[in-house]
């Protein structure tokens, strides 16, 4: 049993170093939001201040991208919830012809690099003469959010025992009543978790969006522009914290909602 009792020291150190590598960089974003240095990324910061939060709050160019990002994420999540749940319901029912093809099709938008999804949509808009708008952004986002909702919903559908649905039908409920009173309450937390992950993914997405947004800016596109041509660097950090928290909170919530089941949310992106 020597091999199973305690980890070799080298392995423990390697694992700890790897986890530090994953987490320390993000903490630095928080530190730099308080620095007094505006033009460089000097370390250690020469002084600490809270003023950048006020400056960011008063910057008029930050609010429209924030609203647009929230709007796009909300609409895309709603669309993905409907489409993802429908396909999960169908896929969990029975084996049918082309089932594997359909899972591949759902997976493809996140399995292929974002630039391909983006460039494909861009080509299609060009071929069909569709002008860029908020809806062209939504079109892209909803497409890659479907798989997130699907993953969460299909796992729950599989766990949902068929006998309670049969019991409901035996007791005289029709299919719609069964859906409303039996299936939906059982599916609820999985859909909530999937929806939150989809929201986080859409709110933060930048690669596909740069191809489908035209002249509009979502918050990540605003950030990207600031990275390429920085103005007040700490303000970018404040916005980075906002983006980080807006994605972090739903993801953590999704984890706690589905924890303990066989289908903990967030295992795949």
């Amino acid at each position: 049993m020597r091999s199973d009792s305690r980890a070799p020291l080298g392995l423990t150190l390697g694992a700890a170093a790897g986890l530090l590598f994953l987490h320390v960089p993000i903490l630095l974003i928080f530190l730099y939001a308080f620095t007094t240095e505006e033009r460089t990324y000097q370390f250690p910061p020469p002084g600490l201040t809270l003023k950048w939060f006020a400056v960011a709050w008063n910057r008029a160019d930050i609010w429209p991208p924030l609203y647009l990002s929230l709007q796009v994420a909300a609409i895309s999540t709603a669309l993905a919830l409907v489409l993802g749940t429908l396909v999960a319901a169908a896929m969990s029912r029975a084996k049918f012809f082309g089932r594997d093809r359909i899972s591949l099709l759902i997976l493809l938008p996140i399995a292929l690099p974002g630039i391909i999804t983006g460039m494909s949509l861009r080509s299609a808009f060009d071929v069909m003469g569709i002008p860029f708008s908020t809806w062209t952004i939504v079109l892209g986002h909803a497409t890659f959010c479907i798989v997130i909702v699907f993953n969460n919903a299909v796992a729950r559908f599989r766990r949902l025992s068929g006998s309670i649905v049969e019991a409901s039908l035996d007791l005289g409920a029709n299919g719609f009543q069964t859906f409303r009173h039996v299936i939906l309450p059982n599916l609820g937390s999985a859909l909530l978790a999937g929806g939150m992950l989809a929201f986080a993914l859409s709110f933060d997405e930048v690669i596909v969006t740069t191809f489908t947004a035209g002249q509009q800016s979502t918050l990540p596109i605003w950030m990207l522009n600031e990275l390429v041509r920085p103005r007040q660097r700490p303000v970018t950090n404040v916005v980075a914290i906002v983006v980080f928290v807006t994605t972090f909170v739903p993801v953590l919530a999704a984890y706690y909602l589905t924890r303990g089941g066989s289908e903990t949310a967030g295992g795949g992106k």
Binding site: P25, I29, P113
Partner: protein, 313 residues
């Protein structure tokens, strides 16, 4: 005494539809599948088809307008030395990033799969899952802060009296540069950082399936830790490594933000696609560039399928 029907009478359209779906389960299946498949079929597959179509068009060199005629001219342009270098550079980086991710991911995945229990197991899961989901752009930005000339890496090497080492690394030909944030080394570090969780999760899943009894048997038969690792753990974990490498490889091939923010000014496939479709207005060549990662990934997936990587996904 007349027989009564054993089923309840239908009370409304809901009941009638339920009976219909009960008699014809395939009708329900079609109705469930139609909206999502229409969406994915039209929006996604339609777009991919448009991409392929565009890549067979060409651009008129004098007018700068797209010529809507079938031609392979645009693909031939990919073979021009300046363009072909972009392809080689990107594929080379994808290979290097995948190897880096595999090396760093292994201790974390192995520890989490074999030694972490209870609370620690959950902590490891969150510790990998949260960086996976946290904002991509924020992560890239964090490394801009770290790697810049006046940033924390320079400060730390100075404080440790190791600035000569950093300068020696930066003086290396090709992969070095003015500072870490303008060199290939910097690009590589950030790629490894951002895609690392994609490697850890499937690797951990594969390692969890290695039976502890096999490791005990290996130890009982007198193998050293290194021998057990090489002859038992590694072959059994390989499908997980390959599954993870599908993500690290594919994501590196298609990324254009990281090399744009951190790296030398030499282009990667993603940047070429982005510039060509935007300012240059050469959508056919941009589309042809975008087809390359698809082709590389299809070949890669075919090899991975043979090596059993899909069982570990």
């Amino acid at each position: 005494m007349g027989l009564r029907p054993v089923t309840l009478p239908e009370r409304g359209p809901g009941d009638r539809l339920t009976s219909l779906f009960w008699r014809r389960p395939n009708l329900l299946l079609v109705l469930l599948l139609a909206p999502p498949l229409l969406w994915l079929g039209v929006v996604y597959l339609g777009s991919l088809a448009a991409l392929l179509l565009q890549s067979f068009f060409s651009i008129d060199e004098f007018s700068g307008l797209v010529v809507h005629e079938f031609t392979l001219k645009t693909y031939l342009e990919l073979l021009r030395p300046s363009n072909f270098d972009i392809l080689l550079r990107t594929v080379g980086m994808a290979v290097a990033v995948t190897l880096g991710c595999a090396v760093i991911a292994f201790p974390i995945a192995h520890y989490a799969a074999r030694y972490a229990r209870g609370q620690w197991k959950a902590a490891f899961y969150l510790g990998v899952m949260l960086p996976l989901w946290s904002s991509y752009l924020v992560k890239v930005y964090a490394w801009k802060l770290i790697l810049s000339k006046e940033g924390i890496v320079t400060w730390a090497t100075d404080a440790a009296g190791a600035s000569a080492v950093l300068n020696a690394v930066l003086a290396l030909p090709v992969i070095g540069g003015n500072s870490l944030s303008t060199s290939y080394i910097g690009t590589w570090i950030v790629f490894v950082y951002v895609w690392l969780p994609y490697m850890i999760l499937p690797m951990q899943a594969a390692l969890e399936r290695v039976p502890a009894s096999m490791l005990e048997a290996s130890a009982d038969l007198g193998a050293t830790r290194a021998q057990t690792f090489r002859t038992v753990i590694l072959p059994l974990a390989l499908p997980g490594v390959i599954a993870g490498s599908i993500f690290t490889f594919s994501l590196t091939l298609g990324d254009y933000i990281i090399p744009q923010i951190i790296g030398s000014s030499r282009l990667f496939i993603g940047q070429a696609v982005y510039t060509l479709q935007g300012t240059a207005g050469n959508i056919p060549l941009a589309a042809a560039f975008a087809v390359v990662p698809i082709a590389v990934m299809l070949a890669y997936l075919a090899v991975a399928r043979r090596m059993g990587a899909f069982d570990a996904l």
